[in-house]
Amino acid sequence: MPDLQTKPKFRWYIVVFLAPAVLVYTAVMIYPLFNTLRLSLFTEIGQERVFVGLQNFRTLFGDTVWSTQFWNALGNNFWFFIVHMLVQNPIGVALAAILSHPKLRFASFYRSAIFIPTILSFVIVGFAWKLILSPIWGIAPGMLDAVGLKSLYAPWLGKEAYALTALSLVSVWQFVGIPMMLIYAALLSIPDEILEAAEVEGITGFAAFWKIKLPLILPSIGIISILTFVANFNAFDLIYAAQGALAGPDFSTDILGTFMYRTFFGFQLQLGDPHMGSTIASAMFAIILVGVCLYLFGIQSRMRRYQF
Protein backbone atom coordinates (compact mmCIF):
# COMPACT_ATOMS: atom_id res chain seq x y z
CA MET A 1 0.00 0.00 0.00
CA PRO A 2 1.40 3.38 -0.92
CA ASP A 3 0.62 4.80 2.50
CA LEU A 4 4.28 5.30 3.36
CA GLN A 5 4.68 8.48 1.33
CA THR A 6 5.09 11.51 3.54
CA LYS A 7 1.77 13.11 2.77
CA PRO A 8 -0.55 10.64 1.07
CA LYS A 9 -2.96 12.18 -1.36
CA PHE A 10 -6.57 11.85 -0.35
CA ARG A 11 -7.84 8.86 -2.24
CA TRP A 12 -11.05 10.15 -3.73
CA TYR A 13 -11.71 6.94 -5.62
CA ILE A 14 -12.44 5.11 -2.38
CA VAL A 15 -15.23 7.61 -1.73
CA VAL A 16 -16.50 7.21 -5.28
CA PHE A 17 -16.56 3.43 -4.94
CA LEU A 18 -18.31 3.46 -1.59
CA ALA A 19 -20.68 6.38 -1.98
CA PRO A 20 -23.54 4.94 -4.07
CA ALA A 21 -23.98 1.83 -1.95
CA VAL A 22 -23.63 3.67 1.36
CA LEU A 23 -25.99 6.44 0.27
CA VAL A 24 -28.77 4.18 -0.97
CA TYR A 25 -28.40 1.83 1.98
CA THR A 26 -28.40 4.65 4.51
CA ALA A 27 -31.20 6.65 2.92
CA VAL A 28 -33.60 3.81 2.16
CA MET A 29 -32.82 1.28 4.89
CA ILE A 30 -31.00 2.60 7.96
CA TYR A 31 -32.53 6.07 8.15
CA PRO A 32 -36.14 4.85 7.76
CA LEU A 33 -35.44 2.14 10.31
CA PHE A 34 -34.44 4.68 12.95
CA ASN A 35 -37.09 7.09 11.80
CA THR A 36 -39.69 4.37 12.38
CA LEU A 37 -38.34 3.82 15.88
CA ARG A 38 -38.59 7.61 16.41
CA LEU A 39 -42.14 7.81 15.03
CA SER A 40 -43.27 5.30 17.63
CA LEU A 41 -42.77 8.07 20.21
CA PHE A 42 -45.21 10.41 18.49
CA THR A 43 -48.90 10.56 17.87
CA GLU A 44 -51.24 12.63 15.79
CA ILE A 45 -53.55 15.06 17.50
CA GLY A 46 -55.65 17.19 15.16
CA GLN A 47 -53.42 16.90 12.06
CA GLU A 48 -50.32 17.61 14.10
CA ARG A 49 -47.54 15.30 15.14
CA VAL A 50 -47.04 15.46 18.88
CA PHE A 51 -44.31 13.88 20.96
CA VAL A 52 -45.81 11.56 23.56
CA GLY A 53 -42.85 9.57 24.80
CA LEU A 54 -43.65 5.96 25.55
CA GLN A 55 -47.41 6.51 25.53
CA ASN A 56 -47.89 4.35 22.41
CA PHE A 57 -46.09 1.45 24.05
CA ARG A 58 -48.25 1.89 27.14
CA THR A 59 -51.30 1.69 24.88
CA LEU A 60 -49.97 -1.35 23.06
CA PHE A 61 -49.22 -3.30 26.22
CA GLY A 62 -51.69 -1.73 28.62
CA ASP A 63 -54.90 -1.09 26.72
CA THR A 64 -56.70 -4.43 26.52
CA VAL A 65 -58.01 -3.78 22.99
CA TRP A 66 -54.44 -3.50 21.77
CA SER A 67 -52.66 -5.84 24.13
CA THR A 68 -54.92 -8.83 23.46
CA GLN A 69 -54.28 -8.37 19.73
CA PHE A 70 -50.57 -7.98 20.27
CA TRP A 71 -50.15 -11.02 22.51
CA ASN A 72 -52.37 -13.03 20.19
CA ALA A 73 -50.17 -12.10 17.22
CA LEU A 74 -46.97 -12.73 19.15
CA GLY A 75 -48.18 -16.10 20.43
CA ASN A 76 -49.29 -17.10 16.94
CA ASN A 77 -45.95 -15.98 15.60
CA PHE A 78 -44.13 -18.18 18.11
CA TRP A 79 -46.25 -21.15 17.15
CA PHE A 80 -45.54 -20.39 13.48
CA PHE A 81 -41.81 -20.43 14.30
CA ILE A 82 -42.01 -23.60 16.40
CA VAL A 83 -43.77 -25.50 13.61
CA HIS A 84 -40.98 -24.44 11.24
CA MET A 85 -38.29 -25.54 13.65
CA LEU A 86 -39.96 -28.88 14.40
CA VAL A 87 -41.08 -29.79 10.89
CA GLN A 88 -39.23 -27.80 8.25
CA ASN A 89 -35.71 -28.14 9.58
CA PRO A 90 -35.77 -31.87 10.47
CA ILE A 91 -37.29 -32.71 7.06
CA GLY A 92 -34.69 -30.50 5.41
CA VAL A 93 -31.87 -32.26 7.26
CA ALA A 94 -33.28 -35.69 6.47
CA LEU A 95 -33.65 -34.92 2.77
CA ALA A 96 -30.13 -33.50 2.65
CA ALA A 97 -28.74 -36.56 4.41
CA ILE A 98 -30.39 -38.86 1.86
CA LEU A 99 -29.33 -36.67 -1.07
CA SER A 100 -25.72 -36.55 0.02
CA HIS A 101 -25.25 -40.28 -0.51
CA PRO A 102 -22.48 -40.27 -3.10
CA LYS A 103 -23.85 -43.05 -5.27
CA LEU A 104 -27.45 -41.85 -5.37
CA ARG A 105 -28.81 -41.55 -8.89
CA PHE A 106 -31.02 -38.66 -10.03
CA ALA A 107 -29.85 -36.64 -7.02
CA SER A 108 -29.81 -33.38 -8.96
CA PHE A 109 -33.30 -34.04 -10.30
CA TYR A 110 -34.70 -34.55 -6.79
CA ARG A 111 -32.83 -31.52 -5.55
CA SER A 112 -34.22 -29.23 -8.25
CA ALA A 113 -37.76 -30.59 -7.94
CA ILE A 114 -37.91 -30.26 -4.16
CA PHE A 115 -36.66 -26.69 -4.43
CA ILE A 116 -39.47 -25.63 -6.81
CA PRO A 117 -42.01 -24.55 -4.14
CA THR A 118 -39.40 -22.19 -2.68
CA ILE A 119 -39.26 -20.13 -5.87
CA LEU A 120 -43.02 -19.66 -6.12
CA SER A 121 -44.56 -16.50 -4.75
CA PHE A 122 -46.66 -16.52 -1.59
CA VAL A 123 -49.63 -15.49 -3.66
CA ILE A 124 -49.42 -18.64 -5.75
CA VAL A 125 -48.69 -20.87 -2.78
CA GLY A 126 -51.39 -19.34 -0.59
CA PHE A 127 -54.13 -19.60 -3.19
CA ALA A 128 -53.09 -22.98 -4.51
CA TRP A 129 -53.31 -24.53 -1.04
CA LYS A 130 -56.48 -22.65 -0.26
CA LEU A 131 -58.08 -24.25 -3.31
CA ILE A 132 -56.68 -27.70 -2.59
CA LEU A 133 -57.76 -27.71 1.05
CA SER A 134 -61.13 -26.18 0.22
CA PRO A 135 -64.19 -28.30 0.96
CA ILE A 136 -65.82 -27.00 -2.24
CA TRP A 137 -63.27 -28.47 -4.59
CA GLY A 138 -62.83 -31.67 -2.71
CA ILE A 139 -59.26 -32.62 -3.58
CA ALA A 140 -58.15 -33.02 0.02
CA PRO A 141 -61.26 -34.89 1.20
CA GLY A 142 -61.18 -36.99 -1.99
CA MET A 143 -57.59 -38.01 -1.39
CA LEU A 144 -58.19 -38.81 2.26
CA ASP A 145 -61.20 -40.85 1.17
CA ALA A 146 -59.01 -42.86 -1.18
CA VAL A 147 -56.91 -44.04 1.76
CA GLY A 148 -59.94 -44.53 3.98
CA LEU A 149 -59.32 -41.56 6.25
CA LYS A 150 -62.12 -39.30 5.16
CA SER A 151 -63.24 -38.78 8.74
CA LEU A 152 -59.99 -36.92 9.39
CA TYR A 153 -60.88 -34.18 6.93
CA ALA A 154 -61.91 -30.78 8.19
CA PRO A 155 -61.92 -27.43 6.41
CA TRP A 156 -58.63 -26.68 8.14
CA LEU A 157 -58.15 -23.13 6.92
CA GLY A 158 -61.62 -22.18 8.09
CA LYS A 159 -61.37 -23.58 11.61
CA GLU A 160 -59.83 -21.47 14.32
CA ALA A 161 -58.20 -24.45 15.96
CA TYR A 162 -56.35 -25.62 12.85
CA ALA A 163 -55.91 -22.62 10.55
CA LEU A 164 -52.60 -21.39 11.93
CA THR A 165 -51.02 -24.83 12.01
CA ALA A 166 -52.27 -25.55 8.50
CA LEU A 167 -50.76 -22.30 7.20
CA SER A 168 -47.51 -22.97 9.05
CA LEU A 169 -47.32 -26.35 7.34
CA VAL A 170 -47.99 -24.71 3.96
CA SER A 171 -45.10 -22.37 4.68
CA VAL A 172 -42.97 -25.36 5.70
CA TRP A 173 -43.89 -27.05 2.42
CA GLN A 174 -42.76 -23.94 0.58
CA PHE A 175 -39.41 -23.43 2.32
CA VAL A 176 -38.11 -26.91 3.03
CA GLY A 177 -35.75 -26.43 0.08
CA ILE A 178 -33.63 -23.86 1.89
CA PRO A 179 -32.49 -25.94 4.89
CA MET A 180 -32.15 -28.89 2.53
CA MET A 181 -29.72 -27.01 0.28
CA LEU A 182 -27.68 -25.47 3.09
CA ILE A 183 -27.33 -28.75 4.99
CA TYR A 184 -26.57 -30.57 1.75
CA ALA A 185 -23.72 -28.12 1.15
CA ALA A 186 -22.45 -28.62 4.69
CA LEU A 187 -22.58 -32.41 4.36
CA LEU A 188 -20.64 -32.32 1.10
CA SER A 189 -17.88 -30.34 2.75
CA ILE A 190 -17.17 -33.10 5.30
CA PRO A 191 -13.96 -34.72 4.08
CA ASP A 192 -14.05 -38.37 3.09
CA GLU A 193 -11.11 -39.23 5.35
CA ILE A 194 -13.18 -38.57 8.45
CA LEU A 195 -15.98 -40.84 7.24
CA GLU A 196 -13.52 -43.50 6.18
CA ALA A 197 -11.81 -43.38 9.55
CA ALA A 198 -15.21 -43.86 11.17
CA GLU A 199 -15.92 -46.75 8.85
CA VAL A 200 -12.70 -48.45 9.91
CA GLU A 201 -13.96 -48.14 13.47
CA GLY A 202 -17.20 -49.78 12.37
CA ILE A 203 -19.38 -46.67 12.44
CA THR A 204 -21.56 -46.60 9.33
CA GLY A 205 -25.08 -45.76 8.21
CA PHE A 206 -27.28 -44.16 10.83
CA ALA A 207 -24.59 -44.25 13.49
CA ALA A 208 -22.25 -42.34 11.20
CA PHE A 209 -24.94 -39.75 10.66
CA TRP A 210 -25.71 -39.23 14.35
CA LYS A 211 -22.20 -39.45 15.71
CA ILE A 212 -20.06 -37.93 12.96
CA LYS A 213 -22.04 -35.87 10.47
CA LEU A 214 -24.63 -34.26 12.72
CA PRO A 215 -22.10 -32.71 15.13
CA LEU A 216 -20.15 -31.41 12.15
CA ILE A 217 -23.16 -29.69 10.58
CA LEU A 218 -24.40 -28.11 13.82
CA PRO A 219 -23.11 -24.64 12.84
CA SER A 220 -25.19 -24.79 9.64
CA ILE A 221 -28.24 -25.84 11.64
CA GLY A 222 -27.63 -22.82 13.86
CA ILE A 223 -27.53 -20.49 10.85
CA ILE A 224 -30.72 -22.04 9.48
CA SER A 225 -32.44 -21.57 12.82
CA ILE A 226 -31.65 -17.88 12.98
CA LEU A 227 -32.61 -17.37 9.32
CA THR A 228 -35.92 -19.12 10.04
CA PHE A 229 -36.44 -16.95 13.11
CA VAL A 230 -35.89 -13.66 11.27
CA ALA A 231 -37.99 -14.75 8.29
CA ASN A 232 -40.86 -15.96 10.50
CA PHE A 233 -40.99 -12.86 12.65
CA ASN A 234 -41.39 -10.56 9.71
CA ALA A 235 -43.60 -12.92 7.70
CA PHE A 236 -46.74 -11.43 6.22
CA ASP A 237 -47.30 -12.40 2.61
CA LEU A 238 -48.55 -15.96 3.00
CA ILE A 239 -51.13 -15.10 5.66
CA TYR A 240 -52.25 -12.06 3.69
CA ALA A 241 -52.55 -14.01 0.45
CA ALA A 242 -54.46 -16.91 2.01
CA GLN A 243 -56.54 -15.25 4.73
CA GLY A 244 -56.51 -11.54 3.92
CA ALA A 245 -55.51 -8.65 6.16
CA LEU A 246 -57.94 -9.76 8.87
CA ALA A 247 -56.00 -13.00 9.29
CA GLY A 248 -59.17 -14.97 9.88
CA PRO A 249 -60.97 -16.93 11.10
CA ASP A 250 -61.35 -14.52 14.02
CA PHE A 251 -57.66 -13.44 14.00
CA SER A 252 -56.53 -16.99 14.68
CA THR A 253 -53.81 -16.68 12.02
CA ASP A 254 -52.81 -13.13 12.90
CA ILE A 255 -49.05 -12.70 13.20
CA LEU A 256 -46.98 -9.59 13.87
CA GLY A 257 -46.62 -8.76 10.17
CA THR A 258 -50.36 -8.78 9.47
CA PHE A 259 -51.08 -6.98 12.75
CA MET A 260 -48.66 -4.22 11.81
CA TYR A 261 -50.08 -3.97 8.31
CA ARG A 262 -53.65 -3.63 9.59
CA THR A 263 -52.68 -1.06 12.19
CA PHE A 264 -50.51 1.00 9.89
CA PHE A 265 -52.66 0.82 6.78
CA GLY A 266 -56.11 0.50 8.25
CA PHE A 267 -58.78 -1.96 7.26
CA GLN A 268 -62.49 -1.77 6.70
CA LEU A 269 -63.68 1.07 8.97
CA GLN A 270 -60.58 1.52 11.07
CA LEU A 271 -58.25 4.24 9.83
CA GLY A 272 -54.56 3.57 9.47
CA ASP A 273 -52.34 4.82 12.25
CA PRO A 274 -48.67 5.21 11.28
CA HIS A 275 -47.61 5.88 14.84
CA MET A 276 -49.11 2.73 16.32
CA GLY A 277 -47.78 0.93 13.24
CA SER A 278 -44.30 2.20 14.10
CA THR A 279 -44.80 1.08 17.68
CA ILE A 280 -45.55 -2.46 16.54
CA ALA A 281 -42.61 -2.30 14.11
CA SER A 282 -40.36 -1.27 17.02
CA ALA A 283 -41.59 -4.22 19.04
CA MET A 284 -40.82 -6.51 16.08
CA PHE A 285 -37.39 -4.92 15.77
CA ALA A 286 -36.72 -5.59 19.45
CA ILE A 287 -37.84 -9.22 19.14
CA ILE A 288 -35.67 -9.84 16.09
CA LEU A 289 -32.72 -8.08 17.72
CA VAL A 290 -33.03 -10.21 20.85
CA GLY A 291 -33.19 -13.36 18.73
CA VAL A 292 -30.16 -12.40 16.64
CA CYS A 293 -28.14 -11.43 19.74
CA LEU A 294 -29.04 -14.66 21.52
CA TYR A 295 -27.82 -16.52 18.47
CA LEU A 296 -24.62 -14.52 18.00
CA PHE A 297 -23.53 -14.44 21.63
CA GLY A 298 -25.30 -17.42 23.11
CA ILE A 299 -25.09 -20.07 20.44
CA GLN A 300 -22.67 -19.23 17.70
CA SER A 301 -19.78 -18.20 19.93
CA ARG A 302 -20.03 -21.45 21.90
CA MET A 303 -20.26 -23.65 18.88
CA ARG A 304 -17.07 -25.37 17.84
CA ARG A 305 -16.13 -24.85 14.25
CA TYR A 306 -14.10 -27.49 12.58
CA GLN A 307 -11.61 -26.49 9.95
CA PHE A 308 -10.85 -29.12 7.38
Binding site: L18, T36, W137, F264, I288
Partner: protein, 279 residues
Protein backbone atom coordinates in the same frame (compact mmCIF):
# COMPACT_ATOMS: atom_id res chain seq x y z
CA UNK B 1 -17.41 -43.96 0.24
CA UNK B 2 -17.53 -47.33 -1.39
CA UNK B 3 -20.40 -49.28 -2.74
CA UNK B 4 -20.09 -52.07 -0.17
CA UNK B 5 -21.73 -49.82 2.38
CA UNK B 6 -24.91 -49.37 0.39
CA UNK B 7 -27.18 -52.33 0.48
CA UNK B 8 -29.98 -52.37 -2.08
CA UNK B 9 -32.62 -52.00 0.60
CA UNK B 10 -31.35 -48.64 1.79
CA UNK B 11 -31.06 -47.44 -1.81
CA UNK B 12 -34.72 -48.29 -2.40
CA UNK B 13 -35.68 -46.61 0.83
CA UNK B 14 -33.75 -43.51 -0.14
CA UNK B 15 -35.42 -43.33 -3.56
CA UNK B 16 -38.77 -44.05 -2.00
CA UNK B 17 -38.44 -41.18 0.46
CA UNK B 18 -37.21 -38.77 -2.19
CA UNK B 19 -39.91 -39.70 -4.69
CA UNK B 20 -42.55 -39.28 -2.00
CA UNK B 21 -41.27 -35.84 -1.09
CA UNK B 22 -40.88 -34.80 -4.73
CA UNK B 23 -44.54 -35.73 -5.28
CA UNK B 24 -45.56 -33.67 -2.25
CA UNK B 25 -43.54 -30.73 -3.58
CA UNK B 26 -44.89 -30.86 -7.12
CA UNK B 27 -48.45 -32.02 -6.54
CA UNK B 28 -50.09 -28.62 -5.89
CA UNK B 29 -48.42 -27.03 -8.90
CA UNK B 30 -49.47 -29.96 -11.05
CA UNK B 31 -53.08 -29.83 -9.89
CA UNK B 32 -53.33 -26.08 -10.52
CA UNK B 33 -51.84 -26.26 -13.99
CA UNK B 34 -53.86 -29.23 -15.29
CA UNK B 35 -57.12 -27.84 -13.98
CA UNK B 36 -56.53 -24.46 -15.59
CA UNK B 37 -57.04 -26.19 -18.94
CA UNK B 38 -60.41 -27.71 -18.07
CA UNK B 39 -64.03 -26.67 -18.21
CA UNK B 40 -65.65 -25.59 -14.99
CA UNK B 41 -67.63 -28.79 -14.76
CA UNK B 42 -64.58 -30.98 -15.23
CA UNK B 43 -62.63 -29.06 -12.61
CA UNK B 44 -65.14 -30.08 -9.98
CA UNK B 45 -66.08 -33.51 -11.29
CA UNK B 46 -62.61 -34.95 -11.59
CA UNK B 47 -60.03 -32.58 -10.21
CA UNK B 48 -57.17 -35.04 -10.58
CA UNK B 49 -57.83 -36.10 -14.19
CA UNK B 50 -55.76 -34.78 -17.07
CA UNK B 51 -57.66 -32.55 -19.48
CA UNK B 52 -58.97 -34.50 -22.48
CA UNK B 53 -60.82 -33.51 -25.62
CA UNK B 54 -64.08 -33.37 -23.69
CA UNK B 55 -62.94 -31.33 -20.75
CA UNK B 56 -60.35 -29.13 -22.46
CA UNK B 57 -61.10 -25.43 -22.30
CA UNK B 58 -59.21 -22.16 -22.39
CA UNK B 59 -62.06 -20.09 -21.03
CA UNK B 60 -60.08 -19.19 -17.89
CA UNK B 61 -57.15 -17.85 -19.89
CA UNK B 62 -59.53 -15.82 -22.05
CA UNK B 63 -61.02 -14.17 -18.97
CA UNK B 64 -57.59 -13.46 -17.52
CA UNK B 65 -56.25 -11.91 -20.68
CA UNK B 66 -59.40 -9.87 -21.21
CA UNK B 67 -59.84 -8.63 -17.66
CA UNK B 68 -56.39 -8.33 -16.21
CA UNK B 69 -53.55 -6.37 -17.69
CA UNK B 70 -51.06 -9.16 -17.20
CA UNK B 71 -48.64 -7.99 -19.87
CA UNK B 72 -48.32 -4.64 -18.14
CA UNK B 73 -47.84 -6.34 -14.76
CA UNK B 74 -45.23 -8.62 -16.25
CA UNK B 75 -43.42 -5.67 -17.77
CA UNK B 76 -43.46 -3.81 -14.43
CA UNK B 77 -42.06 -6.84 -12.62
CA UNK B 78 -39.36 -7.15 -15.25
CA UNK B 79 -38.35 -3.49 -14.95
CA UNK B 80 -38.28 -3.62 -11.17
CA UNK B 81 -36.34 -6.89 -11.00
CA UNK B 82 -33.79 -6.06 -13.69
CA UNK B 83 -33.36 -2.48 -12.44
CA UNK B 84 -32.85 -3.56 -8.84
CA UNK B 85 -30.39 -6.29 -9.83
CA UNK B 86 -28.42 -3.81 -11.93
CA UNK B 87 -28.01 -1.38 -9.04
CA UNK B 88 -27.38 -4.10 -6.46
CA UNK B 89 -24.60 -5.55 -8.59
CA UNK B 90 -23.04 -2.25 -9.67
CA UNK B 91 -23.14 -0.47 -6.30
CA UNK B 92 -22.51 -3.67 -4.37
CA UNK B 93 -19.44 -4.57 -6.43
CA UNK B 94 -18.04 -1.04 -6.18
CA UNK B 95 -18.40 -0.97 -2.39
CA UNK B 96 -17.09 -4.52 -2.08
CA UNK B 97 -14.04 -3.55 -4.13
CA UNK B 98 -13.32 -0.54 -1.92
CA UNK B 99 -13.60 -2.65 1.23
CA UNK B 100 -11.56 -5.55 -0.11
CA UNK B 101 -8.85 -3.60 -1.92
CA UNK B 102 -7.91 -0.52 0.08
CA UNK B 103 -6.79 -0.10 3.63
CA UNK B 104 -8.24 3.08 5.04
CA UNK B 105 -9.51 4.40 8.31
CA UNK B 106 -12.97 3.11 9.04
CA UNK B 107 -12.78 0.17 6.65
CA UNK B 108 -13.81 -2.32 9.35
CA UNK B 109 -16.60 -0.12 10.65
CA UNK B 110 -17.93 0.51 7.17
CA UNK B 111 -17.94 -3.25 6.53
CA UNK B 112 -19.84 -3.91 9.74
CA UNK B 113 -22.25 -1.06 9.04
CA UNK B 114 -23.10 -2.49 5.64
CA UNK B 115 -23.39 -6.00 7.08
CA UNK B 116 -26.02 -4.92 9.63
CA UNK B 117 -28.70 -5.15 7.00
CA UNK B 118 -28.10 -8.85 6.40
CA UNK B 119 -29.93 -9.77 9.58
CA UNK B 120 -32.37 -6.89 10.00
CA UNK B 121 -35.32 -6.99 7.63
CA UNK B 122 -36.00 -3.74 5.78
CA UNK B 123 -39.73 -4.19 6.35
CA UNK B 124 -39.36 -2.93 9.91
CA UNK B 125 -38.82 0.55 8.48
CA UNK B 126 -41.86 0.47 6.21
CA UNK B 127 -43.77 3.30 7.93
CA UNK B 128 -40.92 5.75 7.45
CA UNK B 129 -40.13 4.45 3.96
CA UNK B 130 -43.68 5.14 2.85
CA UNK B 131 -43.57 8.60 4.41
CA UNK B 132 -40.31 9.34 2.60
CA UNK B 133 -41.64 8.10 -0.73
CA UNK B 134 -44.75 10.25 -0.33
CA UNK B 135 -42.63 13.32 0.44
CA UNK B 136 -40.33 12.77 -2.54
CA UNK B 137 -43.25 11.99 -4.84
CA UNK B 138 -41.88 8.54 -5.59
CA UNK B 139 -44.91 6.70 -4.28
CA UNK B 140 -46.68 4.74 -7.02
CA UNK B 141 -43.60 4.73 -9.22
CA UNK B 142 -41.39 1.78 -10.05
CA UNK B 143 -38.42 3.79 -8.74
CA UNK B 144 -39.72 3.43 -5.19
CA UNK B 145 -39.57 -0.35 -5.52
CA UNK B 146 -36.19 -0.34 -7.24
CA UNK B 147 -34.69 1.82 -4.48
CA UNK B 148 -36.10 -0.34 -1.71
CA UNK B 149 -34.95 -3.61 -3.27
CA UNK B 150 -31.52 -2.16 -4.00
CA UNK B 151 -31.11 -1.15 -0.36
CA UNK B 152 -32.39 -4.54 0.74
CA UNK B 153 -30.03 -6.48 -1.52
CA UNK B 154 -26.86 -4.46 -0.98
CA UNK B 155 -25.71 -5.83 2.41
CA UNK B 156 -25.50 -9.46 1.35
CA UNK B 157 -24.12 -8.49 -2.07
CA UNK B 158 -21.28 -6.47 -0.51
CA UNK B 159 -20.56 -9.29 1.92
CA UNK B 160 -20.40 -12.04 -0.72
CA UNK B 161 -18.61 -9.99 -3.38
CA UNK B 162 -15.91 -8.68 -1.04
CA UNK B 163 -15.07 -12.27 -0.07
CA UNK B 164 -14.53 -13.04 -3.74
CA UNK B 165 -12.66 -9.82 -4.51
CA UNK B 166 -10.07 -10.64 -1.84
CA UNK B 167 -9.15 -13.68 -3.92
CA UNK B 168 -8.31 -11.68 -7.06
CA UNK B 169 -4.55 -11.69 -7.47
CA UNK B 170 -2.70 -8.56 -6.35
CA UNK B 171 -0.11 -9.05 -9.08
CA UNK B 172 -2.72 -8.53 -11.74
CA UNK B 173 -3.95 -5.29 -10.21
CA UNK B 174 -0.43 -4.03 -9.61
CA UNK B 175 0.51 -4.83 -13.19
CA UNK B 176 -2.44 -2.71 -14.23
CA UNK B 177 -1.28 0.12 -11.98
CA UNK B 178 2.22 -0.01 -13.46
CA UNK B 179 0.66 0.20 -16.91
CA UNK B 180 -0.96 3.42 -15.78
CA UNK B 181 -4.56 2.25 -15.44
CA UNK B 182 -6.66 4.35 -13.10
CA UNK B 183 -8.27 2.65 -10.09
CA UNK B 184 -11.62 2.86 -11.89
CA UNK B 185 -10.26 1.04 -14.90
CA UNK B 186 -8.66 -1.60 -12.73
CA UNK B 187 -12.04 -2.21 -11.15
CA UNK B 188 -14.11 -2.23 -14.33
CA UNK B 189 -11.63 -3.83 -16.70
CA UNK B 190 -9.66 -6.26 -14.54
CA UNK B 191 -11.59 -7.14 -11.41
CA UNK B 192 -15.23 -7.14 -12.50
CA UNK B 193 -14.79 -9.75 -15.26
CA UNK B 194 -13.02 -12.04 -12.79
CA UNK B 195 -15.80 -11.99 -10.21
CA UNK B 196 -18.56 -12.59 -12.74
CA UNK B 197 -19.50 -16.00 -11.26
CA UNK B 198 -19.97 -14.41 -7.83
CA UNK B 199 -22.06 -11.64 -9.40
CA UNK B 200 -24.26 -14.26 -11.00
CA UNK B 201 -24.75 -15.92 -7.62
CA UNK B 202 -25.74 -12.62 -6.03
CA UNK B 203 -28.12 -11.89 -8.91
CA UNK B 204 -29.85 -15.24 -8.63
CA UNK B 205 -30.20 -14.95 -4.84
CA UNK B 206 -31.87 -11.57 -5.17
CA UNK B 207 -33.97 -12.22 -8.24
CA UNK B 208 -36.60 -14.53 -6.79
CA UNK B 209 -37.39 -12.62 -3.56
CA UNK B 210 -37.71 -9.37 -5.54
CA UNK B 211 -39.94 -10.92 -8.18
CA UNK B 212 -42.15 -12.55 -5.57
CA UNK B 213 -42.43 -9.73 -3.04
CA UNK B 214 -45.95 -8.67 -2.15
CA UNK B 215 -45.37 -6.32 0.79
CA UNK B 216 -43.68 -3.35 -0.88
CA UNK B 217 -45.75 -3.33 -4.10
CA UNK B 218 -48.85 -3.42 -1.89
CA UNK B 219 -47.70 -0.46 0.18
CA UNK B 220 -45.52 1.64 -2.12
CA UNK B 221 -46.95 1.04 -5.59
CA UNK B 222 -50.55 -0.22 -5.54
CA UNK B 223 -51.71 1.89 -8.50
CA UNK B 224 -52.94 0.01 -11.54
CA UNK B 225 -50.22 1.17 -13.94
CA UNK B 226 -47.31 0.19 -11.66
CA UNK B 227 -48.64 -3.10 -10.25
CA UNK B 228 -46.15 -5.94 -10.32
CA UNK B 229 -47.16 -9.39 -11.45
CA UNK B 230 -47.29 -10.69 -7.88
CA UNK B 231 -49.57 -7.91 -6.67
CA UNK B 232 -51.55 -7.94 -9.91
CA UNK B 233 -52.35 -11.62 -9.62
CA UNK B 234 -53.18 -11.22 -5.92
CA UNK B 235 -55.71 -8.47 -6.70
CA UNK B 236 -57.07 -10.25 -9.75
CA UNK B 237 -57.60 -13.51 -7.87
CA UNK B 238 -59.25 -11.62 -5.04
CA UNK B 239 -61.77 -10.13 -7.49
CA UNK B 240 -62.47 -13.32 -9.40
CA UNK B 241 -62.48 -15.61 -6.41
CA UNK B 242 -65.62 -17.45 -7.51
CA UNK B 243 -64.54 -17.83 -11.13
CA UNK B 244 -62.43 -20.94 -10.71
CA UNK B 245 -61.34 -21.07 -14.34
CA UNK B 246 -59.97 -17.55 -14.14
CA UNK B 247 -58.28 -18.10 -10.77
CA UNK B 248 -56.57 -21.30 -11.87
CA UNK B 249 -55.44 -19.73 -15.13
CA UNK B 250 -54.13 -16.63 -13.35
CA UNK B 251 -52.18 -18.87 -10.96
CA UNK B 252 -50.74 -20.86 -13.84
CA UNK B 253 -49.74 -17.67 -15.65
CA UNK B 254 -48.04 -16.42 -12.49
CA UNK B 255 -46.15 -19.70 -12.10
CA UNK B 256 -44.91 -19.62 -15.69
CA UNK B 257 -42.31 -16.80 -15.59
CA UNK B 258 -40.78 -17.96 -12.28
CA UNK B 259 -40.51 -21.50 -13.58
CA UNK B 260 -38.85 -20.21 -16.75
CA UNK B 261 -36.35 -18.23 -14.67
CA UNK B 262 -35.76 -21.28 -12.48
CA UNK B 263 -35.11 -23.58 -15.42
CA UNK B 264 -32.63 -21.09 -16.85
CA UNK B 265 -30.84 -20.30 -13.59
CA UNK B 266 -31.32 -23.36 -11.39
CA UNK B 267 -27.79 -24.65 -11.91
CA UNK B 268 -26.39 -21.26 -11.00
CA UNK B 269 -28.66 -21.01 -7.98
CA UNK B 270 -27.86 -24.46 -6.66
CA UNK B 271 -24.15 -24.03 -7.31
CA UNK B 272 -24.31 -20.70 -5.50
CA UNK B 273 -25.97 -22.15 -2.44
CA UNK B 274 -23.86 -25.29 -2.28
CA UNK B 275 -20.56 -23.49 -2.92
CA UNK B 276 -21.02 -21.93 0.48
CA UNK B 277 -21.54 -18.38 -0.66
CA UNK B 278 -24.00 -17.87 2.18
CA UNK B 279 -22.07 -19.50 4.98
Amino acid sequence: MNSARQNPFSTYAAHGALILYTLIALFPVFVIVINSFKTRKAIFREPLAMPNSDSFSLIGYETVLKQGDFFLYFQNSMIVTVGSLFFILLFGAMAAFALAEYRFKGNMIMGLYLALGIMIPIRIGTVAILEMMVQTGLVNTLWALILVYTAQGLPLAVFILSEFMRQVSDDLKNAGRIDGLSEYRIFFRLVLPLVRPAMATVAVFNMIPIWNDLWFPLILAPAEEVKTLTLGSQVFIGQFVTDWNAVLSALSLAILPVMALYVIFSRQLIRGITSGAVK
